[in-house]
């Protein structure tokens, strides 16, 4: 049985719609589906099946939870990242749940159909280069 996610849901002040959502990529609809299914296997929400995909939100202007802090820190191994605004993600119909430690959030995927994952991929927008990706200079 999957663990209950609810105890790990925070009660943050809802972020502004202009907040940037950051996710290491590049993503495809199939990849998003695999990750959401993994989350579904691990967690349920309020006793119900749950699908979700992890993201980070650039909550601060400076530090680890800023956009630069995320790209140069947690996501430094990613060559490509997706950086939609929260407004774009919400407008596409995806709720953003504050989970575990900030600035981690989970995009709630309402169902595990291919159409939904295509819609999520579209909401995440195109992958862009991570300017902080470590490029293997130390040879």
């Amino acid at each position: 049985m999957a663990d209950e996610l609810r105890p790990h849901v925070r009660h943050d002040v809802p972020p502004n719609d202009t907040t940037v959502v950051v996710r290491g990529g590049p993503d495809t609809a199939d990849k998003l589906a695999r990750h959401a299914v993994r989350t579904n296997r691990a967690y349920q929400l309020d006793g119900q099946p749950f699908w979700g995909v992890s993201v980070f939100l650039a909550l601060d202007d400076l530090g680890d939870a800023s956009l630069d802090g995320l790209l140069s820190g947690r996501l430094r191994t990613y060559r490509v990242v997706h950086t939609p605004t929260l407004e774009q993600v919400r407008a596409a119909g995806f709720e953003v749940l504050p989970t575990f430690r900030p600035p981690h959030f989970t995009l709630v995927v309402p169902d595990a159909t291919p159409t939904t994952f295509e819609r999520l991929l579209s909401a995440l927008g195109p992958g862009v280069p991570n300017p902080y990706h470590e490029r293997g200079r130390r040879r």
């Binding site: 296997r41 490509v80 430690r101 130390r138």
Partner: protein, 87 residues
């Protein structure tokens, strides 16, 4: 460079430990996924060198916690080429 990861993971995934997590049965060879092991996790598009922190048994399966190490996989490949070829 084609990369075949040791264990598939979404490196965006973190849980209450603050570490990346995935399931042990997503490893190519689960016997190499032991605490302290240095392995490659993620997927072919976004691999990372990680340390296996622990393996926790849960009802849904054995969960592996991973700590992402500094540098990228090409750095580690260059390290191995440089040091082993000099021996």
């Amino acid at each position: 460079m084609a990369v075949m990861v040791d264990i598939t993971a979404d490196l965006n995934d973190e849980d209450e430990t603050g570490l990346v997590w995935t399931f042990l049965d997503e490893a190519r060879d689960p016997t190499v996924i032991v605490p302290g092991a240095i392995v490659v996790a993620g997927d072919a598009d976004a691999p990372a060198v990680v340390e296996v922190v622990d393996v926790v048994s849960k009802e849904a399966g054995d969960v592996v916690h991973l700590r992402i190490l500094p540098g990228n996989i090409e750095d580690y490949a260059a390290l191995v080429r440089r040091t082993l070829s000099a021996a």
